[in-house]
Every structure is written in C-alpha cells, then in structure tokens.
Subunit: 571 residues, 2 copies
Amino acid sequence: MTYQAPVADIQFTLTHVIGASALAETERFAEATEDMSEAILTEAAKLTESVLAPLQRPGDLHPARLENGVVRCSPGYAQGYQAIAEGGWVGINADPDFGGMGLPMTLTTAVGEMMNSACLSLALNPLMTQGQIEALEAHASDEIKALYLPKLITGEWTGTMNLTEPQAGSDVGALTTKAVPNSDGTYAISGQKIYISWGDHDLAENICHLVLARLPGAPMGTKGISLFIVPKYLPDGDGKPGVTNRLNPVSLEHKMGLGGSPTAVMAFNNATGWMIGAENTGMAAMFTMMNNARLGVGTQGVGVAEAAYQHALAYAMDRKQGRSPIKGGTGTIMDHADVRRMLMTMKALTRSARAICYDCAYSLDMAKATGDAAWTARAAFLTPIAKAFGTDVGSEVSDLGIQVHGGMGFIEETGAAQFARDVRVTRIYEGTNGIQAMDMVGRKLADGGTAAEALLDEIEATAVTARDAHPLLADALQDAGECLAETTRWMVEQELNDRFAGAANYLRAFALTLGGHYLMKASLAAPGDTARLALAQFHLRQLVPQVTALALSAQEGAEPLYALSVRDFAQ
Amino acid sequence: MTYQAPVADIQFTLTHVIGASALAETERFAEATEDMSEAILTEAAKLTESVLAPLQRPGDLHPARLENGVVRCSPGYAQGYQAIAEGGWVGINADPDFGGMGLPMTLTTAVGEMMNSACLSLALNPLMTQGQIEALEAHASDEIKALYLPKLITGEWTGTMNLTEPQAGSDVGALTTKAVPNSDGTYAISGQKIYISWGDHDLAENICHLVLARLPGAPMGTKGISLFIVPKYLPDGDGKPGVTNRLNPVSLEHKMGLGGSPTAVMAFNNATGWMIGAENTGMAAMFTMMNNARLGVGTQGVGVAEAAYQHALAYAMDRKQGRSPIKGGTGTIMDHADVRRMLMTMKALTRSARAICYDCAYSLDMAKATGDAAWTARAAFLTPIAKAFGTDVGSEVSDLGIQVHGGMGFIEETGAAQFARDVRVTRIYEGTNGIQAMDMVGRKLADGGTAAEALLDEIEATAVTARDAHPLLADALQDAGECLAETTRWMVEQELNDRFAGAANYLRAFALTLGGHYLMKASLAAPGDTARLALAQFHLRQLVPQVTALALSAQEGAEPLYALSVRDFAQ
C-alpha cells in the first residue's frame, strides 16, 4: 500500500468545513482562490505520492548516521529533499519579496500534512526551515534577511532551532549557553544543545542554527535570553558558504523512531553568531516561531494518522479471514464489527484533528489579513489543541493501525509499527502535550474565557443548524458544548495549579467536541452524503459521550493529586 | 533504575483484596498459606531483581538470531533460563506427581507478573512451557505424561504452541497442516506454522511443539482439528533426546519489540508426532491451554506496567526542572500536577489490572479446589477482561512512562520505549483484544448474564460497605455498577453482531469498574492508609466516570458501523 494524498477531502475540508475561500476575499491572500488551492494540492499530491512516500521505509531501515564528524542521511533523502526544494515547497508561505510564494498558512498546513503522511522524517527538515524563515521575517535586521531568507526559501540552506540543553528541557529559562560580544558586532557562542532536529546533514550547502543564549550579565531566567543565528559555514562576501564555523554535531540520538531525521547533540565553541532582534528578547522571538511550529507538529500527527489509516484500511480490505459475521459480506476482516469500529475511530479522529489544524491555520491567516485581535486569539486558543490533540491522534490512530493488522502489525516489514514509532516524539517535542494543556488553561484562558466562548458559540450554532435534520446528533453536540462552557467558567475562576490538574482532560474534551462540530458541519455541507453523516454520527455517539466524563474529572482540582507523598508513589 | 519486586503490594492484594488465604482452607491447596506465599514471593523477588532484570536491555540490543539453521539467544539468556529452571519456577503450579510444586495459579500469576516485569521476552519461555504442561496434564495419555512432564517441569525441555498458519490467524479452523498416521501409531506432521514464540532456541536440550493439524478426511473447520506433540529431538529408549525430528525454524520475525524472544516460522516435513487426546478434539484441548495462557498474557501486561511505572517514577523523582508550582516542593517534575496525574493513572491502572488477573487466577484455583461451577464461570468471565485490560494497561502505562520522561522517553538508551515496544504484541497474540471482547459478550454472556451479575453483586457490596466512610466514592462505584448491570441486560437480549459492536467498550467499562471495586476494597482493608484511599479516589473520580460514556456507546448496536460501505472507508 502506498500513500494516496486525500486531495478531495482536504479541499472539501478547506472549503466547506473551514470556509477558507474567504481568504481570497482579503487583500493579503487574494491569490488564494479555490482554483489555486486545488492546483497546489494536486502538485503536492504528485510530490508526496511518488517522490516522498518511497523514502519512508529507507529512513527507518537505514537511519541517518554520524561518520567522522559528518552526518550521512538515509538513502534517497538527497533526491527527495532536492525535489522539495526545487518545487518551491520550503517557501510556500514565505514573503514573495525574498522568493517565497506568499500563500496562506492554511494551504501550507494542508501541504505539510501530505508531506508528513508520505515521509515524516524528511518532512521535518523543511518544517524547521519554515519556522526559521518566520522568525527571521518577524525579527531579523534587513541585512540578515537579505542574506539568509533567499537561501532558506529556495532550500539551498536549511534551518534548525537550538533551545534545549541537558539541564533545561521544558524549562527553557534555565539554559546556560553563552554569547560574548566580539569586536565586530558578532557574538561568540559557546555551549551544548540537545535534541537538535536536522542539526547536521548532507542535503544542503549550509545549515543555519537559531540558538538561544545568554549575554554576559543578562538577567536570570527567560528574561535574559537572546536569539542568534549561527551558520555552519560563515557566508563570504558573495553570500556563499565560506569559512567553517566553530560548531559541530557531537552525536546522534538512537531513537524509538524517526530514524531518517538526524537528532543531534550540537556543540558550539566560540562559534560566530549574529543577534536576531534586541538583547534579552530571544524568548519572544522564539515564541513566534514556536507557536507556528506547534501547529506544524500537530499537523505531523494528522499526516501520520492519515497514512496509518490508509495503510490499515488497505490491509483490512485485503485480508480474508474466517466466516463472515454478516450476510453479503466481503469475506475480509472488514466484515467484522470491531474492525469497523477501529477503522471508523481512526477516520473520525483523523478528520477531527485535520479540521482543528486547518482551522487554526486559517485563524492565523485571517489574523494576518485583517489584523483583527479576535482572529489572533482564536488562533492562539486553537494552537495547543492542534498540537496536543493532533499528535495524540497520530499516536492513537497508528496504534489502532497496528491492531487492525493483527500479528502482522508487530512485524516491522509490514510498516504499521513504524508509523507509531515515528510519530511518538511529536507528543513530546515542541512542548510536551502536558505543557500544551497547561498553556491552554493558563495563557489561553487568561482572557477570562473569551476566545473559548467564541468557539463554543460556533459549536452551538452548528448544533442549532443540525437540529431539524438530526435532532439526536444536535443534542449530543449541544450537550458537549454546554458541558465545556461550564468547565471553562470553572477553569477561569481557579488558581493556576487547579487548572493545571484538569488541563489534559479539558483539552481532550474540547478537541473531541470540536471534532463533532467539524464533522457535523461537513455532513451538513454534503446533504446526500451518507458516509459523512455516518462518520459524524459515529463521532458524536461513540467518542463525544466521553466529554461529560472528561469535564467532570477536569474539575477535581489539584488537591487529590497531592494526596500521595513522593514516598507513597514508590510504595 | 532497576526493577524492585512489589512484594508488599502483591501480598496485600492477594490477602486483602482477593482473599486468597481461603485457598489454604481447601484440601487441594492446603499448603498455600500466607507464610508459604510470602516465602515464594520473596524468593521470586530475588530471582527477578538480580538475575532476570539485567537481561531486559540485552534482549533488545542483541535480539535472538537464526544462524545456519540454529537460533542463538541474546547474551545472558542461557544463565537466566537456567536460574528459572533450577529454581523450579517452570513447574510452580504443575502436578507434584511429576515433580511440580502444585501451588495455586494465584501464586503462579503473582510470580509470573514479577518475571514479566523483569524480562518479558525471557519470561515468555516458561509461560509457553506452563501452558503445555497444563494441556498434557489434562489431555495426554499416561505414557506421554510420564515421558514429557518431568522434563518440562524441570525446564530441561521447553514447550511451544503451534496454532497459526499464514492463511489462518484468528480463524484457527482454516488451518491446513496435515497429520498422516504412520504404521507405528505415530503421525507424520507436515505444514508451516507462523508466530511460534520460542519455536527454536539454544537454552534447553529439547523443544516440544504442540501442533494443531488435520487427519486425512477430517471434517472442515475447528471440528476436524487434532492435537499432536512433536519434539525437536525424538526421545530415545531412555527418554533422552535422540534422533533429530523433521522440523526446523525457517526464519525469525523482525519485530517492533520483544527481540529477546525468538518468534519463528516453523516448517514440519513429515515430522513425527504423537496425538494428544482423541481425534478431532484438538480445539478443546487447545482451549484449555489457551484460556490459562490468556490469563498469563494479561499478566504480561501487568508486569510491564509495573516495571514501566517504577522506571518512570524513578526518573520523575530525580529530574529537576523549572520553578516548582507548589510550596515546599521537591524541585523535581514530581511537583507538577500533570506529571502526578500521569503517575497516578499509571499506578491506578496497574493495580486494577493486577487485581483483575489475580482474581481470575483465584477463581481458577477455587474452581479446581471446590469443583463449584460458579467459580469456573467466574474465572471464564474474568479471563477475557484479564487478557484484554491487562495488556491494554501494559501499553497505556508504558506509553505514559515515555511521556513522563519527556525527550528522554524517545531515546532508546533510556529504556522507557522498550517497555512500550515489547508489550505491544500482548494485545495481539493469544487472541487479539478485539477477540477477547467478542468472547466476553458472546460465550461469556451465553449464561444469560449470571456470571456478570454475580460480579456486579460483589461490586455493589463493596459500594455498600464503603458508603458510611466515603459516600461520594461509594456513589461513583455504585453508579458504575448499575450502569454495567443495565448494559449487561441489554447485551444478553441482542443479536450477536450487535453485542460485538459494543464489545470493546463494554469490556473496558467493566474493567474500569472492577478496578474501582478492588482499589476501594484495598482502601477499606487499610483504614489508616491515606495513599490507598487517595488512589481509590483518583480511580473512581478520574477514570470511572468514563464508564457511563462507554456503556452508552456500547449499546449503539452494529448498524451504525455498517453505514459506511467499504468504498466509503476509502474516500
């Protein structure tokens, strides 16, 4: 089974569920018409199906390796990367002034999903570069922009993010990498960074590291962090890779999956860097970049979920087994109720997460296009949901995919296990899903719940629209929405740690309800489509009932979690 | 972090939650006193902590491999296996007449859990042999018993189960392996079997295969299957391994995990075998063996869950990170509500699954000791729950263990990922968890719900006992029980496929409620123990609320699952 890009459902979701056609009515994204979208998606389908999908297995069988200080990538990755770069896909949403296509994040996300489905490990490379482009566009000087952006946008150079240090994981403020000013305006960067995705490789002529570091005498914590660009090769007078910088990959991690993506420990030894933005404002710049990267990571989950679903479905449709429990069955395991339950769960979760990610991207675009703070708040609220739920779905769907395969699922040659192993890290990096949930009930409810309530109003509107034709489903959606509204009010009145205690359950409940809302919208937009109705019904009657339980558990507060002493845990 | 056998909680669970002391009052298990139990558990702790646990990583790093037709095991496995055999652990519950210890399955299960925690892949070897011992004790002729049982019980020889063929997975009746009578009363066995755990290895002097095959002219399907014992080396006149039999491992599977356990494709080419039991009764014999093996596999899940929990807890207690969100915290990630939520979920699920498995084993013992059909029915009803929930918990807890580790969780050196990879197959083999759920709502409700209702009565009794001291928790337990009672009544009135459609949700709901019942019993048995109360509270208020949603979804029937055509799935 090879991946087939679900162009029809993606386009349907964009147009009828998200309403992304409205983008073409803005000045900023006037070019993003439905026709343009279809053309882009069709091109992306060709790239992902024929060039990238065949690289998925080789990345696992022959992971990137460090040889004599140089990272050698998996077989075929060089050609795959070249196709991505030459197709202009790295700069799909970058500034046209520097060679980008200037397309909306909505479309970037849809294309990203396809690349993630086809080959997650390689697709992570341009995702890192895109994050860097965004950071430079927003915070770099004109000189830096002119030098770096064209190279990054064409994919001639790639980008990385260097945040984490051994003693500073989720707590970025604890980092100790130093940046000492040189006499020429540059900085000497020294320190060690870990978990650097695509920190070194042989796919492009230069690698640009965005590094968080501290200036001498900078304040403690996150307020004393500045951002630097530190290229592997220092650009010469013509902007070409020149002298080798004083940095190197120390080792690559031996991971559970995603072997095609080299994860490096990077050492900086008085490496030359240039500051991005003002002194001690590195965290703000990083957050710009990180928020969009969080959506990108959520979309990684969606991509893997889609691919794992297709993979399991192809197996189920082919696998003959036993007497059929139904009349007129196919003789395959598709006849079995429990196999159908698994596949419908996979499909419903994947489509829910897809719509959440696209809607988040759409909100970012509308915020850019209109400058309306309500769109910014909507995007900000949806971001942790997109990241955490998207990646949870990636794991859950690929795990169900293994189960659909039965014994074959545990055998690596089948490929089902790789999806689960590869996607596992997405729930961890770019802020663990626990951190996402804390962000959601902390920062994202700091507005007193306004952004949350605006989304809940949309959900209620869908329920109202659905009521005549589908009263039971409308009730299920409305009940879940009301349950969330009540939980939201509870949340905003609590101390932070009481919110945190219920954060994961609240996020899950919100995401499941949003999924019901989007799948219902999809069904309403296609009145004769029995399959879309059946999927909405499945989601609302098999998955959304959990919302009540999750909302209840979310309101228990922190105290019960601290009733066990550390010693009690170990008993 | 090395594994520490939780002897205290195991003993507490056996005595106060399951009430296993009653076994010593029966004639059959008069020796199984609390003192004996403690002595056995203490010995098993020594073996598992110091001998077996160090083999866990080597099994993953250096999986068993097939070299020139011979399987070479992972480093240290030979010594580990020898320690298991010499300790008498293979024959712990086997018939004393043949050298077994004759101890109850309850204690066997507790010891099995420890071995699974320490090194799942190696522990699978004696588990297979134990299944074979049981099958031979129940169905073999005196001659076969006298020849094979003493060797299997000492661990000099090991056993395997050969059911699956490429075209016959869950549908065992489709198998085609042939058994042609020889003139001397033996049979010539020919065919290929797949997924044979420990099908070949270099740990013991002989390997005895129990093989399902068809006699010439046997009926189609499961009614035409007979069981044979087919040793690697034919026993000579002295009962020692003699002539090499015509069978061999063709290949070993390359798996997602459990690399220390060789999973072989076995070829039988007119191999000599002896029939076990009567012609065409192989499935019945296999079911005896499989039912106990299912409990054994559920216990694999519990073992891995316990080990993964300990591993994650040790990391969390050690990992310093960020500002503490609480006053008087430890400065480690244990201070964070969401980390505590994960760890408490892990602990509650592990203890729930442990109690379910032990209670299932206890029911088997009581059935043997008393001959009372109610105990047999209780064991039969608990078996699919023990297998499916135990292994689901193994996966869920080890997955949470990865998450607790953050970025380190994705790095193989940490060891967290191995638990999740190793345990993944337990949800598939010995009947997938979907098959378990179908068994539960099919065969195990064929009594009209009597066995289910008897368990629900026990749950209600716990709620009644708890009411005075803990009214809210008692309500939560009672509500869940009533919800299950109603769902059970719904189930027994439905067509089989409508039951199947809700089977997985029903099983999950039943298991979560049983978990609440056992954790509440544990708390009631230790009145001053705030930790046990806190854990019961967590389970009943964070996990048991899902029961209502699951029960609701379980009663939707099959129709919605068939509303999508096969083609619709692929859209």
